[in-house]
Structures are given as C-alpha cells and as structure tokens.
C-alpha cells in the first residue's frame, strides 16, 4: 500500500529543494524512495502546479496547561456572542484577519487541533510548561487531536534551582536537575521566563534587570541564563534554552535584550517573542522601535535565534508565566479583568485580556516593530514565525501574517491606515523585502524542526514522517495558506479543501538526556520538607501519555 503524490512543486529547504517538480511516495506513514514495484501504489494524487511542503511546525504557541484553561474559564464570551461580534466588527482595524481567521484566542483543545491542521500545521509546541502543572498541560495536549505536540519546561524561577545557585552548586548538579525535570515533565526543551523575576515578585520585587539580584537569593538573571544555557548545552539537548527576557513590554527594554544575547557566553539561546523586547524610548511619547538595533545584533550573533511574537489588531488575551510583568500590565486589561497566580514555589502565571488597536500609537508601533524585525533579520533559519499565540494574536491569523511578509503592497497599504504618529516612527515602508515560499518553508518547517531537534519532521526526505501540506499557488497568500488542498498526517489524508476529513491523534515529542539519578535523593527530601506533593507524583510516567490508546511518545535524539 503506497501513496503517490505526483508532480507537485516541492519546497523542502532541508534538502535545498526550491520548487522542483518531484514525486513523493508514502509507505506506512513515512516518505520512501520510489518503489521497485509500481503495482504496489494504491493511491495517486496528481498535484500538478500545486505547492508541496512538509507539515508546518509552530515552535511557540500556548496550547495547553493551566494558564490557557484559566483564560478559557475567564473569557467564555470569546466563544459566545462576542466571537460573532469580533468577526463582524465594524472597527476600521487595518486587518482583522478576514475571512479565514476566526480570531478565537482561547479555543478548546479540540478546536486547537482542528484549526491547526486546517492551516497545514502538523505540530505545535507549548512553550511554558510549569513543571508543577505539567500533568495538566499533557492532559490538555493529549486531548488536542490531529497534531503532534510537545513543550518546554519552565525553570529559573523555581526555588529549588535558585537555592542550588545561591549555594554555588556545581554545574553537574544543575545539569542533573535540568535533565531530571525534562524526564519528569515529558518536555523537549527548557524555557526561562523573566529569569528570576517571577520568583522575585513573590518577594515583592516589581522589576528586575539582567544584573539585578533577587533580594532573597542574591542571584541575578544573568547567572540564571548562564547556568541554564550551559546545562542545556552540556546535556546535549537540541533545543537551545528558550528565553523570555526580563522587562517584557517596557519602553527601553531593547538594551536588556541586547545584553541578554551576551549572557550565555556564546552558547546557543533562543529569544522568544522578541518583538515585545525591542522597544526604545525615543520620540515625544518615549516609546519607539528598536527593531533595527535588535535585528543588527541578531544578524551578528550567530548563536542566537528568535521568534517574533507578531501582534495583529483585535481582541486577544495575554497568558504568560511572567507574573511580575502581567501584574503591572493588568491595568491595561481589556476587558478589565486579570488572573495572577503564584504557583507551588515553582513559578506563576498571569492572564490578562487585551485588545490591540491600530489607532493606538503603541499598538500600531508594536505591529510595525514585529514586521521590521521579520524583514531585517537576514537568515530565515534563525527567525521564526509566531504571534506568541494568543499573546500577540491567535494562531489562526498566521495566513494573514504570511501575506504581510510576502506582499509588500498589501503590507504598505495596511501600514498607511495605522496611527499617524506611529507611522512617523517606523521605517517599515523602506523595507522592500518580500519573503519567498522557500523562506516561509524554512521559517515554518525546516528551521523550526532543526531548532527543536525533530529529526523526522519539517522535511520531505526519505524516512521523514509523512506530514505533508499541499497548497494551490495563489497570489493572495493569505487565502493560499489559510486553506490547503490536502494535508497528510503520518501519510493519511486528514484535511481536504481546508476541512478535516478524518480525525487522528498525534504524538508527544520529548528529549530525555541521560543523567546521574542520585539527584533524586536530594529532590525527595526537598519535596518532603517543603512542597505539598510527593516527588513520585510529580513525575509523569510514559504510560500516562500513551496508555489511552491515542497518545504516543517520541523521544528525539540530538544529531551529532
């Protein structure tokens, strides 16, 4: 039983294929070489003229875990009538992503899976799994159909780690702890959110710069970044340390971001939703774009990767582990409500609804800053397409964002409708670049898979998981990327004409480096003394994910 996809135009950057016409053969969920015996081909799709890419991978999207569930609970109106109102909004926002985007910021687990696959995405990664809350995150992701999942475990604000650092623990101990957390939480990477800041907020600190100590531990964010990036590197985890920098959203924070790039002493780090960290203080309103400085530094610092966290106008909700900044931002909540939580001497979460408006100076400039970054960072292998779903915009607006990147006229028309003061502060129209299909395939497929360390995804080579998306080449890139003709998941046709035709369940990607398990002795006594659950219950067993007959764990090994 072999499926043949014939005559498609292949965009597969992992194999430097830029629109070549080739056939793809699928056998038992994998891409295989042309079979000797053509009689075994049971199904053929003629894809003449169609654009063929691997399934897209969202490397940063809040799809599971406590904070998203809080957002759903707090905002039932997003799903009820307000959703219709959002769709039919008469606001003259430059691009409420019509007609393809539901702009639903907090979809249920089921809808999350469906909306992703309908856009040709076959995997998404939850970037902020609180270790104490990891079981819930996996339960939610386990109930998310259609796509593969995975997550990054949050460290760097937990008291166990900060205690180790303040006690000057050796790097091996840190490494063992980091590896233990990866195993215990079934994660594929490590994230740090506002390094040290969530913890400092519990001691009533309201702001923390890169070299400012936590009042209790006398540990600085820089030290946290050094220790964690080194642990990730020495353990051989493919995914570089995922860093949400200090001072998110603060005017002038670009300096913190630039300094953060230097904090890992040249070891790889990924700076996430960098748009929110690229703000200067110029102009009458003391808020300006520092995209040029950030892009220049990204171009220079080859050990740094970044995703943008583009904002798009309309109603959404911001959900973050960064309680320090979310508590501060709660005064801008729209509608006016927010949930802030301190969680288990581990970290925290903050959920603040937000409405981005094109006539608001700051929001309009945020929009422009994101696009300036996309267009000014030269290497598409080191910059990734995200809206930090749902913080900048719901993931369903990706097709719209892709059009903004690929179509200069469309982009400039949108820009011309923005708040005039913001227009005066942006150089966006001077940026001529238009992303190519090949570059989009890098950002959303090959690059993302390489970054996370997914060996069998994001490409169309032999042996790859047959996650394949087929589009009709249309000048309207938003229409094109919103509604693929076909999506294959593990070789099965699951989407036809942008609608799910078959429900399937994806796998959970993990990384499990080896480590010295004697660390668990100390953890056991720490849990017994200070925490409120047993260490054995903290750990998520493999069969909790795989035993329901739907889930499956894939453990990815770093390629040497």
């Amino acid at each position: 039983m072999i499926t043949l996809l014939k005559n498609g135009r292949i965009y597969d950057p992992a194999h430097v294929k830029d629109g070549v016409v080739e056939d793809i053969y699928i056998h038992q969920g994998r891409i295989v070489p042309k079979p000797m015996d053509e009689a075994k081909i049971s199904q053929t799709y003629d894809l003449k003229g169609k654009v063929v890419m691997a399934g897209a991978i969202d490397m940063h999207s809040h799809i599971g875990g406590g904070k998203m569930n809080i957002a759903r609970m707090m905002l039932p109106e997003y799903q009820q009538k307000q959703l219709q109102e959002i769709k039919n909004s008469t606001d003259h926002e430059v691009h409420i992503c019509t007609p393809h985007c539901s702009h639903h910021a907090v979809p249920s687990a089921t809808d999350t899976g469906f909306r992703y696959i309908e856009m040709g995405y076959t995997a998404a990664f939850e970037p902020a799994i609180l270790p104490a809350n990891a079981r819930q995150a996996h339960l939610e992701m386990g109930d998310t159909p259609m796509i593969d999942k995975g997550g990054y475990a949050m460290l760097g604000n937990d008291d166990y780690f900060l205690r180790l650092i303040s006690q000057k623990a050796d790097q091996k101990t840190i490494n063992d702890y980091v590896a233990w957390i990866l195993h215990a939480t079934q994660a594929i990477g490590i994230k740090v959110v506002n390094p040290g800041g969530i913890n400092a907020f519990k001691f009533n600190q309201r702001k923390q710069d890169l070299d400012e100590n936590n009042v209790h531990y006398q540990v600085s964010p820089r030290e946290i970044l050094q220790r964690l990036s080194r642990a990730v590197h020495e353990l051989g985890i493919a995914k570089p340390l995922h860093v949400h920098c200090n001072n998110l959203g603060v005017a002038g924070n670009f300096e913190t971001t630039l300094n953060t790039m230097g904090a890992s002493d040249g070891l790889p780090m990924h700076l996430t939703h960098i748009q929110f960290h690229s703000y200067g203080t110029e102009g009458d309103k003391k808020f300006s774009s520092a995209a040029a400085q950030i892009a220049e530094a990204l171009n220079k610092n080859k050990h740094i990767t970044a995703d943008v966290g583009q904002i798009l106008f309309n109603q959404t909700v911001t959900a973050s582990g960064d309680t320090m900044m979310q508590h501060l931002n709660a005064k801008h909540a729209n509608p006016k409500k927010s949930v802030i939580m301190d969680i288990e001497c581990d970290a925290g979460c903050g959920v603040v609804p937000f409405k981005y408006r094109d006539q608001n100076y700051v929001n309009a400039l945020q929009w422009a800053i994101g696009l300036e970054l996309f267009l000014s960072v030269e290497d598409p292998w080191r910059i990734f397409l995200t809206t930090d779903h749902p913080n900048g915009a719901p993931f369903t607006s990706y097709p719209h964002l892709i059009r903004l990147l690929m179509d200069k006229t469309f982009r400039n028309d949108a820009f011309a409708k923005l708040n005039l003061d913001a227009q005066a502060m942006s150089n966006l129209t001077s940026l001529e670049r238009e992303y190519t299909l090949y570059e989009i395939a890098i950002m959303t497929r090959a690059g993302a898979a390489k970054l996370i360390g997914l060996n069998d995804c994001g490409h169309l080579g032999f042996g790859a998981q047959a996650d394949i998306t087929v589009y009709t080449d249309q000048p309207d890139r938003e229409a094109m990327f919103a509604k693929p003709d076909y999506v294959f998941k593990n070789g099965e046709l699951v989407v036809k004409d942008g609608k799910v035709s078959k429900v399937v369940w994806g796998a959970t990607h993990t990384a499990k480096p080896s480590f010295d398990t004697t660390i668990e002795k100390d953890l056991q006594s720490y849990f017994d003394k200070y925490l409120t659950m047993q260490v054995g219950n903290f750990k998520i067993a493999d069969d909790e994910i795989s035993d329901d007959g739907r889930g499956k764990i894939i453990t990815n090994q770093k390629k040497s």
Partner: protein, 335 residues
C-alpha cells in the same frame, strides 16, 4: 469526566456538578474581575498571615493546617503564620490553634454580615492608602477599630493569604462578596504581597470544572446542542432542569451521594453504598477512584493534578469503562 463529556456530546445532554452552586460563584467572580491567588506550597513556605473568611477550613479540608500551616520548616525560615478567623463561630476555630498553643484571632461576626464587613475592609484600606479618616464606628456589627487592626495586619504582612469557601457563603449574590475579597487582595498587592485561596467543595469539582473547560471551552454548567457546546450558569443548573429534563444521569463515585428528587427517569452510576429514597430506574455501582482503581484528580488549588492509585482489588467496574460501554451501545442502536 472525559468520557462523560463525550457521552453528553453524543446525547445533547446538559452537564452540571453537584457542588457547582459554589463553583459558579467563584467562576462568576473570576469572569467579572479576575483575581490573584496562590497554591498550597506557597502557603506552606510564604504565608505569615492567614485570614479565613466565613470558613473554618478544617471541616472541609481537615489536614490543611497540618500540611500547609504548622510546618516547622520552610524555605525562607518564616515564623508560624498568624491565623485570623472572620465570621466563623468561635467553637469551630480550634484547628487554628498552633501546636505550641497560640490561639487564633477570632473576629466575631455574623456570617450574614460578611458582605458589609468585607466592603468595609476595602473602604478602610482605600482610605488608609489615601490618608482619609472614617466616621462610622462599626460595620456589620464589628467595630471599625477591630477592622482597622485587621487591615493594618494584612498590610504589614509579607505574604498574607486570604482563604474563603464559596460554599460557606449562604447569602444571595455571594459572588459579589467574593469579588470584594479579591479586590481587597488586589489593593494589598499595590504595596505588599497577598494572595487568595478559594477552597473547593470536593467530589471532584475542580477536576470537572477544568476538564470541561479544555474540552468544550466552557467551565461547568454547559450543554451540547448538536455537537456545539453552550454555556449558561443560571439556566443550566440541576435544580432548574431536574423536573423538566427527560432523563437524569447521576454520577457520584467518591461518596455515596444520592440523586436529587425528580420525576424524570433516573440512572445512577455511583458509589456502591449509595442509598435511595426513590429507587432509580437503573443503578450501576462502580469502584471508587483512588481506592478501587487509578484516576486523576485536580487539587483544590486547581494547578496541581495528582494521580490516584489503586489500593485494593475490586470486582466493581470503572466509571469510564461503564460510560464507554453505554456510548458503544448507543452507537449500535443508532446503526
């Protein structure tokens, strides 16, 4: 709960939890204004003042003090917390006496007056922040001096934890009083740290609320209409629907709670010791999660999910297996 949700989707059923009168009060507060809350390990390691409003805590959560308050070791070497009860009968406050004999502060107040008293606390804190004086001498039967002392104590605390239980607020529109508590917490956080801890009512209410939310997008009190979830905390309550619905499926696995009185045909899937005033049309006894078979449960603070273990061999089936069989039987009938 996941299997129940699927069954509900298939049969256009309304879903409610036996304790959702309380859950909904908290949810409405959160939907109206939000809140700032904490979890048990933070209480254990950081709380220096614990204010229990209208609840003695120990009746519903008997090991709360032992596990999260009287610990002698904490990460930051904090003192044993000062425990304050507001609007709780003195005879129910024994659990708040520390192991070394320190008695809790008990602010005597009529529980029905809590709305007025909590609003007064907000006003006093606001006035304090704005340097205003107050003219009244008492609020809700409590002297302003006592309330002022409480405000000062909360404000001086490094990490005050305010505990309430929505089920213990027996007055109407309790959600407004809960909102007043959360506003007090927000005000405190302008200068110091403080957090709320809403207690649950048990029988898996936190688990049901969370699972429902990620599966349908809505917390409890929702229904499925032709595959689409709908949400209404007022109309979709068991009380409102018990008499008008055409069948009641009652599930209670942790405790032998009997179903509400209704004339509708009743199916009970529950604890084997369940007693009935009116024999239901169908009763399927099932095992208790965490005793007869494994399961998962959300803790009261909603952020922690714990595995439940199987402690004994039982002949009784598991709830989800029974529901799956019903679902399969329904499918074959449809065919």
């Amino acid at each position: 709960m996941r299997s129940l949700m699927h069954l509900a989707e298939k049969t256009n059923a309304t879903l409610d939890h036996m304790h959702s009168d309380s859950t909904v009060r908290n949810t409405l507060t959160m939907q109206n204004d939000g809140w700032l809350t904490t979890t048990l390990a933070e209480v254990k390691n950081r709380a220096d003042v614990i204010l229990a409003i209208g609840t003695d805590i120990a009746t519903s959560h008997p090991r709360f003090f032992e596990k999260a308050v009287w610990n002698t070791e904490s990460l930051f070497h904090k003192p044993t917390p000062e425990v304050i009860y507001l609007g709780v009968p003195a005879e129910k406050t024994k659990a708040g006496t520390s192991p070394n004999g320190t008695a809790p502060t008990v602010i005597d107040a009529n529980a029905d007056k809590l709305p007025e008293i909590i609003n007064a606390l907000n006003a006093l804190l606001n006035n304090k922040l704005n340097n205003k004086k107050i003219k009244e001498e008492s609020a809700g039967g409590v002297s302003v001096a006592t309330l002022m002392a409480l405000v000062n104590q909360l404000k001086a605390a490094k990490y005050a934890v305010i505990v309430w239980s929505a089920s213990s607020f027996k007055f109407s529109h309790a959600e407004l009083t809960i909102q007043s508590i959360t506003q007090l917490i927000n005000l405190l956080n302008e200068s110091t740290r403080a957090a709320g801890l809403p207690l649950n009512s048990g029988d898996g209410d936190s688990s049901v609320n969370n699972t429902s939310t990620w599966l349908s997008g809505y917390p409890t009190r929702n229904r499925y209409v032709d595959g689409k979830p709908e949400y209404d905390t007022y109309h979709l309550s068991t009380d409102k629907l018990a008499s008008s619905s055409d069948a009641l499926l009652w599930v209670s696995t942790f405790n032998p709670h009997s179903p509400p009185a209704t004339t509708a045909p009743t199916i009970v899937i529950g604890h084997p010791a369940t007693k009935f005033e009116r024999q239901p049309e169908v009763f399927i006894p099932v095992g208790v999660p965490g005793i007869d078979h494994i399961g998962l449960m959300f803790r009261l603070d909603s952020s922690i999910t714990l595995p439940l273990k199987k402690l004994r061999d039982s002949q009784l089936p598991k709830l989800s297996d029974v529901i799956h069989q019903i679902e399969a039987a329904l499918s074959s009938v449809e065919k």
